[in-house]
């Protein structure tokens, strides 16, 4: 049987049935910027960083099924500008102080900022007031850095079966909350070994007492830009069920 392909920036990308444009691109070794996507979870389509022009229309490539003969633009000045603006909006909406953040060097938001050449925040900072939740003995929650990707919500509900996290509020007031009467993580059964503790792409969910233990130069994105880590983001084998897939 002939392999089905679509055209991405002049390159023919093969895809398997059921794969999204982004999954096919990643499988072919083409890096696609993303924050809310995780290979072990269903596509979410909320961060919009994977936006491409598909058959002439902007669409999130993580939620668009690949189809034979598609014409897809990704690495164009227009798309890159859009991604930069999205990153800049995320950076001013929260309090992202990379110089003193222990996730620095491991953070996908920061790494994408470098990757896409975000040289300034451009927009006015919101400086929201988001107190830290340090009530859990092993885990710190620093809401200042939340980008509302919902990976922790999905992991806690779909893998851990705990429903520790949720979003509350609407529009610009939307924010991450902890599902406990007190609102404190220390009053939940959350554990450092939970999947939800492993998936945060930024510096919200952090193991306590470990900050800065990895020296500069040995951190995840020190040696190579995030685009060189494409292997880590490749989709899991099609046969294996993903978190959240209906049985």
């Amino acid at each position: 049987m002939n392999e089905q392909t679509f055209n991405l920036d002049g390159q023919e990308i093969p895809f398997a049935a059921g794969q999204s444009v982004m999954q096919a691109a990643l499988a072919a070794g083409v890096f696609v910027p993303h924050l809310c996507y995780h290979p072990e979870f269903r596509p979410h389509g909320s961060c919009k960083l994977c936006t491409m022009k598909i058959n002439g229309r902007p669409a999130t490539s993580c939620t668009t099924p690949a189809a034979a003969g598609m014409e897809v633009e990704s690495d164009t000045p227009e798309i890159l500008d859009t991604r930069r603006i999205l990153l800049q909006m995320l950076l001013v909406e929260g309090n992202h102080f990379c110089p003193s953040c222990e996730k620095s060097g491991h953070c996908k938001l920061q790494a994408l900022g470098y990757e896409l050449g975000v040289m300034s925040p451009h927009f006015n900072h919101f400086y929201p007031d988001r107190p830290v939740d340090a009530s859990h003995p092993d885990v710190l929650l620093d809401f200042n850095r939340c980008i509302l990707c919902e990976l922790c919500i999905r992991a806690s509900a779909e893998v851990d079966g705990k429903n520790v996290f949720a979003l509350s509020g609407r529009g610009i007031k939307k924010h991450l909350i902890v599902n406990a009467e007190s609102g404190k993580l220390g009053d939940t059964d959350f554990a450092l070994t939970d999947k939800a503790a492993q998936v945060c792409p930024v510096g919200v969910i952090l193991p306590k007492h470990k900050g800065f233990a990895v020296p500069i130069g040995q951190r995840r994105f020190d040696a190579e830009p995030i685009s060189a880590h494409v292997e880590e983001f490749k989709p899991i084998a099609a046969a294996a069920p993903r978190a959240g897939d209906k049985p």
Binding site: S100, A134, K208, G211, F212, Q218
Partner: protein
């Protein structure tokens, strides 16, 4: 309140402002109140920046503190990084670091001392010392030094570069690294890193010796002037090792009265508040610490290289110790404001020797990096930063969040001393004379001797603009002089 701090009738006096003071770290200004005969009635060094770190560190997790608070400064961030780490060692119960962690931190600290002292002497102070305090303004800067003394300037630049490289290798970055963590460090040195640093280590010792010789020569070419300029008597304080040695990383507090007698010795710095109290004055953001035993009026003191070299019993590296002996034998030098430069270069030599020796120590390549112990709620870290004793004090709650922080930085200890120095200079050189740029620079020279970090802020390259306005007692402008960023002065 000391003489010349507050004039009896300021409303009848005219005001001369040096704003900002140049070739120092951060932003400060000096105001002089003069009468119609140019007699000085009031002199104040104002620190007009607000720091605020004590407040916004509250609520943050304790392990973030050494990385965050070092952002106070771009010149000596390592000092804040290490003082905070030492305080947090107490929080995590690390009563004794591993030999590797202790020596890597010391290496980092000596790199800091080397680069900061080189920066101050060659880039900031040498234009005054080499050309004269009231020499041609256009030449009196680091560019002028490079043009007139290219070899000296080059060595100064390379000494600083080497210190920065020691910091990079131990902390991960030349400025604002992450090497020290609560209970230890996050890396040791690889063989390649050690060998790369060793390649130039001996050259740095040689150049540092030459720098001491230059500082000494500049002091002694007119020893009477050097001894008298901005001179005042003061108590002094610094850390010393258990054996009385100069120890810039760790030790007990030793204070001497202005007569030389010891007020307290090997005092446990984790209870510094038993011997030091901070006073506030309405005209400055910077506090005025004093020795509790002597009270606010008479208890102010001096810290920094001048104090440390004189206060210790010996320097534990031979070349620097020999220079210390010569320095103390020079009559009056150990109490002279301009003696700071000579003492600073002796410390730079000590740092170069210590770096060389540590690079030969196998412990710096060890793998045992971090220790822990019983958690505590309070931590105090004290270190001798390039500019003097630096105190970091934190309280951490049961959820690992900082609930209180207090920092007493080196320049704060010297606040009253710097005010005394400029008052003395005002009496000596300005009283009754027409104000000129050269005379005003005498005030700045006295301040620069302390190498103050007025805001613990980053250093600005180039000449900062200066405006001096003289207004008569009835508010009528009498004279106005401005200096642009190109260094040119214009009189309106």
């Amino acid at each position: 309140m000391t003489d010349l701090e507050t004039a009896a009738h300021p409303e009848q006096l005219r005001r001369v402002a040096i704003d900002p003071v140049t070739r120092v770290e951060g932003h400060g200004k000096v105001t002089l109140l003069l009468d119609e005969d140019n007699k000085v009635h009031q002199v104040r060094l104002h620190i007009v920046e607000f720091r605020g770190f004590e407040k916004f560190i509250q609520g943050r997790p304790y392990w973030e503190v050494p990385v965050m608070v070092q952002r106070l400064c771009g010149i000596c961030p390592v000092s804040h990084h290490l003082a905070a780490a030492k305080a947090l060692d107490m929080i995590v119960g690390a009563t004794r670091l591993t030999p590797t962690a202790d020596k890597i931190r010391r290496l980092m600290h000596y790199g800091q001392i080397l680069q900061s002292h080189a920066l101050h002497f060659f880039h900031l102070a040498s234009p005054d010392l080499l050309f004269g305090f009231d020499s041609e303004l256009a030449k009196r800067n680091v560019v002028g030094v490079i043009a007139a003394y290219p070899e000296t300037a080059k060595k100064g630049v390379l000494l600083r570069k080497y210190g920065q490289e020691v910091i990079r290798v131990t902390a991960g970055k030349r400025v604002h690294g992450t090497g020290a963590i609560p209970g230890g460090v996050n890396k040791s040195l690889s063989a390649d890193e050690r060998d790369a640093l060793l390649k130039d280590a001996y050259q740095m010792v040689t150049w540092s010796r030459e720098a001491v010789a230059l500082a000494r020569q500049l002091f002694e070419r007119d020893a009477a002037f050097s001894n008298a300029f901005g001179r005042f008597d003061a108590h002094s304080m610094s850390l010393v090792g258990t054996d009385g040695a100069m120890d810039l990383y760790h030790g007990g507090l030793r204070a001497r009265a202005m007569g030389g007698e010891i007020l307290f010795d090997h005092f446990d710095y984790t209870r510094y508040w038993d011997v030091i109290v901070e006073d506030v004055k309405p005209w400055s953001y910077m506090k005025f610490p004093f020795l509790r035993e002597l009270g606010p009026e008479h208890g102010w003191y001096r810290v920094g290289p001048l104090t440390r070299v004189a206060n210790c019993d010996f320097i534990p590296t031979p070349l620097a110790d020999k220079e210390r002996t010569d320095f103390l034998a020079s009559p009056g030098a150990a109490g002279a404001t301009l003696g700071y430069h000579w003492a600073r270069m002796i410390e730079m030599l000590h740092a170069a020797e210590a770096i060389r020796d540590l690079l030969h120590d196998d412990d710096i390549a060890g793998a045992d990096l971090v220790v822990g112990g019983e958690r505590a709620g309070r931590g105090v870290g004290v270190i001798e930063a390039p500019r003097g004793t630096l105190i970091h004090h934190y309280r951490v709650d049961e959820h690992d969040q900082v609930i209180r922080a207090n920092l007493i930085v080196s320049t704060t200890h010297n606040n009253q001393a710097m005010n005394e120095a400029i008052r003395q200079v005002a009496r000596q050189y300005l009283d009754g004379r027409e104000v000129t740029e050269g005379l005003l620079n005498h005030i700045e020279v006295a301040i620069r001797a302390f190498d103050p970090c007025l805001s613990c802020a980053t250093h600005a390259l180039g000449r900062m603009p200066l405006e001096v306005a003289i207004v008569s007692h009835d508010g009528t402008p009498v004279d106005r002089m401005t200096r642009g960023t190109d260094g040119r002065c214009t009189r309106e």
